[in-house]
């Protein structure tokens, strides 16, 4: 009888050896994927203040598509992108899309002076502790994140966008 047991036992032992050893070969730390790695996850909600000191939160935007743009005044590509964001905000006003600029790590005065100098009229939030920059895993500035009506991250972009790219992204999300 033992002849009938030996070979299945050997096969079972080999399968067992592979099963217990396999995890050790694939365990490696993988690099985080930047902001686009957050697609499909709910956006974190932080209680912030805007550039005029008023309390603001993403909760107020439930039911709207939100284009969140992370920026700072020292960042030349942010300055270049801002007028196009203003055009997008104007074009999409009243169509269920909100554009929000989130200043990363600067004072409200600096954020407001920057926005005023460019004629920005969409909401400017001040994220002094850089919470959104951290949780969105921004690789640089600007970073743009688009949220659906339930506050879930649909798309995220590292670097400046042109107006056409913004419009295409919004159209794609609207069709989502």
């Amino acid at each position: 009888m033992h002849r009938y047991i030996i070979w299945p036992a050997v096969a079972l032992a080999l399968a067992l050896a592979v099963y217990v050893a396999e995890p050790y070969f694939v365990t490696q730390r993988a690099a985080a994927g930047g902001p686009s790695g957050l697609a499909g996850q709910p956006a974190p909600i932080f209680d912030l203040r805007d550039d005029r000191g008023r309390s603001v939160s993403l909760r107020e935007y439930r039911g709207s598509l939100v284009v969140m743009n992370l920026w700072a005044s020292w960042c030349p590509p942010c300055r270049a992108e801002m007028p196009d964001l203003q055009r997008l905000a104007e074009a999409e006003a009243g169509r269920g899309i909100a554009v929000v600029g989130v200043n990363e790590g600067e004072s409200p005065q600096r954020a407001r002076a920057f926005a005023d100098s460019l004629g920005i009229r969409f909401p400017i939030w001040v994220d002094g502790a850089q919470q959104y920059g951290r949780t969105y895993n921004a690789l640089g500035l600007p970073t743009t994140v688009i949220l659906d009506r339930q506050g879930v991250v649909i798309r995220a972009f590292d670097g400046p966008l042109t107006l056409d790219e913004m419009r295409a992204a919004v159209a794609a999300v609207r069709a989502h």
Partner: protein
């Protein structure tokens, strides 16, 4: 029979101890794994003899259970000893999500809302498991995860008018994090100290930060108000990493704001979790193997009784 059973028990006990007291360097040593493998082979060879000599089918089943259980446990132990990686620490910045293959994603929180509340790292798998400093380790198949405390420095930077400035870490894990993980080391005055750096792009400055424990700070600081407090030494360079000509070095003790290189700098030392990942023999295989050995022993004991 006694030799067979005691060898099986030794193999099982050796591997169970690897789970009970995980992470010892001896488990990866050649002599240890050769011994474990040799004992497992002895159990199997001896089990074959005992199986042939057994008089009842019940004894044969019990012997088979002991031999197979000890062999499975031994295979799990040797595989872990020979192939498993050494212990390692996964360090994440607050707000960072670190993906670790096989284990899932470790979500490092921004901070506890209440400073006195524990900071919990979440292991996101099918079951969300919290990892908290000081709490018991979590088992994740062939690994154990344990949260331990490390000192990090949260920095705040302002210009001379008091305007807050953005902090970036181009070479850090998270670009826009104002929390320095202090993973590098630098020797100053014979002390090997944690060290990190960050940029202040709006002021075109690069700042190096060196962390001193309260005892180390007492050696270099002669300020009585700073006694018993951790301190951070800030050294401010220009954006090309060249030293500034005047007043570019300052100590911030106990989170106090200091002036250096045309900046106001504040460094608050806080505890933050890092996750120790320790390889262990596959716990499911060891559990089944141990149960088989114990079940076989009981079966043989009942038979003899």
């Amino acid at each position: 029979m006694i030799f067979f059973l005691s060898t099986a028990l030794v193999v099982t006990a050796e591997v169970v101890v690897e789970i009970w007291l995980p992470g010892r360097p001896a488990y990866h040593a050649g002599w240890y794994n050769v011994t474990l493998a040799a004992l497992a082979i002895v159990v199997v060879a001896n089990g074959r003899k005992q199986w042939k000599a057994a008089r009842s089918s019940r004894s044969r089943v019990a012997i088979l259970a002991v031999a197979f259980g000890a062999a499975a446990t031994g295979v799990a132990g040797v595989a872990s000893g020979l192939f498993a990686p050494d212990n390692r620490d996964v360090v994440g910045a607050p707000g960072e999500r670190v993906r670790v293959e096989e284990l899932g994603t470790l979500a490092f929180p921004l901070a506890a809302e209440d400073r006195s509340a524990p900071v919990v790292v979440m292991l996101e798998r099918t079951l969300h498991a919290p990892l908290e400093i000081g709490a018991r380790a979590r088992n994740a198949g062939s690994f154990i995860l344990r949260a331990v405390s490390r000192d990090v420095v949260e920095v705040e930077v302002r210009d001379l008018l008091g305007n807050r400035l953005t902090v970036t870490q181009p070479s850090g894990g998270v670009f826009l994090s104002p929390v320095l993980l202090m993973q590098a080391r630098q020797t100053i005055a014979g002390m090997n100290l944690p060290f990190d750096s960050f940029n202040v792009p709006a002021a075109r400055r690069v700042v190096k930060a060196i962390l001193f424990t309260p005892a180390e700070a007492a050696v270099v600081l002669h300020d009585p108000s700073a006694v018993g407090q951790a301190a951070v030494l800030f050294a401010v360079d220009d954006e090309s990493d060249r030293p500034l000509p005047h007043h570019a070095i300052a100590f911030s003790a106990g989170g106090a704001a200091v002036h250096a290189g045309d900046l106001w700098l504040r460094g608050e030392v806080t505890s933050y979790p890092e996750i120790e990942v320790i390889a262990i023999p596959n716990i499911a295989v060891v559990a089944v193997g141990t149960l088989l050995v114990l079940g076989g022993l009981v079966g043989l004991g009942v038979r003899r009784g």
